[in-house]
Amino acid sequence: MSLSSFQKNLIRIQAFAFKNWIITKRNFFSLSEILFWPLVGLFSVGLLTVFLKLDADMTGFILIGVMSMSLIQVCQIDVAYALLYDLWAKSMKHTFIAPIHSFQLILGSWFIGMLRSSFVFLLLSIFSLLAFHFNFFRSGFLTVLFFLLGLFLIAVLIGLCVCILVLLFGYKAEVAAWSITSLMALICGIYYPVSILPSPLPGIARAIPLTYFLEYFRSFYGFRNELTYPLGWGFGLIGFYLLLGAILFKMVLHHARSKGTFVRLSE
């Protein structure tokens, strides 16, 4: 029985999820990404808030930032891994000689990224409640859901960006998988409101969806919204960047076929 195009799409998406899942469960570094680093981040910053004798709201402000950064990093690295593993194994040509579409590669790996990231969220929620008496679910289930969806979508944007850079610059770009999230955290106000940033950084922060999602989530913990309709702006910007990213990725794939990137990175 021949399969419909829709079924074949699903199977190809499943392929990238399968690869990331196997690598996640088999590699120590992959496990440390979801267990070690997020907990180290939460505890070190959490203990700093204790030392500085910050009140509950301020502690929440900072822990929301730490949590966001961990969730985005874990989820985006899975999307980036869709190409990074091929880059490291020099097997890129075998992936791109198969009849795949770019969205299948991104969606499959993003799915595992969301799973891993959701696990990190649960882990950090429990530990922050136990260690610092901060409840991430105080704002309500739907709010958490919107916030997480926003973070996961931001992660797919960063992962897409890393994939584009890898196809353009090869090994030189792999560092982007670990640096883009940190750079974004600096501008979007992970540990502080964006209003304290020197000009022109607040303007740049307004062009990044994470700023709006942090603003939205923190508004449930006693912090006044400085931006209007943060959720609408956040999702709107994500939609725009996703469209832009999809077009760019397609163009870069064409560029890679023209420049021999798949062959060069497989030698």
Partner: protein, 323 residues
């Protein structure tokens, strides 16, 4: 016979360095026609452009100029449809390290849209075909070079391709494994009748596997045809060495059929024949009847390496000459 691959005027230049000023012209107007069901070999030294040509024909790389037709589809605009029907295996195979043999095959099987039981059956079939049963749960990075190559071949047959591209399939393998891989390639082609395009720099491998061969040097096809045709084209002939007693009649040698050239020195004679296998018997009869007592005789048949060297010499001395 219908054409599986038709390439016309393929050019490719790689640009590098600041401002893309450093140019390397890798392919210079390659024309190629490959019929359905044949094993076609592209032979050439390192840096000849073999991998670039194969990458272009397999849609991994876009040419700067030229036209490609794969089963009548446009090789540049119909890449996705073509990729459904082709596959590749290359020497020094690389796959994701931590995935086992079976997981790698499952992964690539999914990329080719194989579902559920059909994928399971295909993976099991290929694991058995390439004798990978004992290694099915071994991660890729723990496999020997020969096993990696077998996995690469197994992966390349997952989608039952109509065209199989093999890029130096036995490079880096020991002779025993190379022979086995060659036999497997030949058996698979015979059984399935698929078209195979193979690149190699090993002349013997090309001669053993390929129906037709093209010589590629510095991005240009020097000559193409069957091994027999190519040998005849260069007219360097097969060399017969004779140690004899008595005399050898030079008149008889001049009259004998197929003698291209000869030299006679004290008790030794070297004769160049256009076709050693066919001409040797009559030549020996002629010499024996004319009173020559042959003590020792040897025949060294021209091989593809000699032919390639000859074509290279011709092209170096006359760059306009292309056959």
């Amino acid at each position: 016979m219908a054409l599986a691959i038709k390439a016309e005027g393929i050019y490719k230049t790689f640009r590098s360095g600041w401002g893309r000023k450093r140019n390397k012209e890798v392919l210079k107007g390659v024309d190629l026609q490959i019929e359905e069901g044949e094993i076609f070999g592209i032979l050439g030294p390192n840096g000849a452009g073999k991998t670039t040509l194969l990458s272009i024909l397999s849609t991994l790389l876009l040419p700067d100029r030229g036209q490609i037709r794969i089963f009548g589809m446009d090789g540049i605009t119909d890449g996705h449809r073509i990729r459904e029907r082709v596959n590749i295996s290359s020497g020094n195979a690389n796959f994701v390290w931590s995935l086992t043999v079976e997981e790698n095959l499952q992964f690539y099987g999914m990329l080719y849209g194989l579902a559920g039981r059909r994928r399971e059956e295909r993976v099991n079939f290929l694991i058995n075909l390439f004798d990978l049963r004992d290694h099915r749960d071994v991660p890729f990075d723990q496999l020997s070079t020969g096993m990696k190559q077998r996995l690469s071949l197994a992966k390349s047959l997952l989608n039952e391709p109509e065209i199989l591209f093999l890029d130096e399939p036995t490079v880096g393998l020991d002779p025993e494994v190379s022979i086995r891989i060659r036999e497997q390639i030949r058996a698979i082609q015979k059984e399935r009748g698929m078209t195979i395009l193979l690149t190699t720099h090993q002349m013997k491998e090309a001669e053993y596997l390929c129906g037709r061969i093209a010589f590629l040097k510095t991005g240009e096809i020097l000559a193409s045809g069957t091994a027999h045709d190519l040998k005849r084209m260069v007219r360097i002939g097969d060399l017969v060495r004779i140690t004899f007693e008595g005399n050898i009649s030079e008149e008889e040698l001049l009259r004998a059929e197929g003698v291209i050239n000869y030299s006679v020195t004290d008790g030794h004679c070297e004769i160049m024949l256009d076709d050693g296998e066919r001409r040797l018997g009559p030549l020996v009869s002629t010499l024996t009847q004319s009173g020559t007592h042959i003590k020792r005789l040897s025949l060294r048949q021209v091989d593809l390496e000699d032919v390639f060297i000859e074509f290279s010499k011709e092209s170096d001395s006359d760059p306009g000459l292309r056959l």
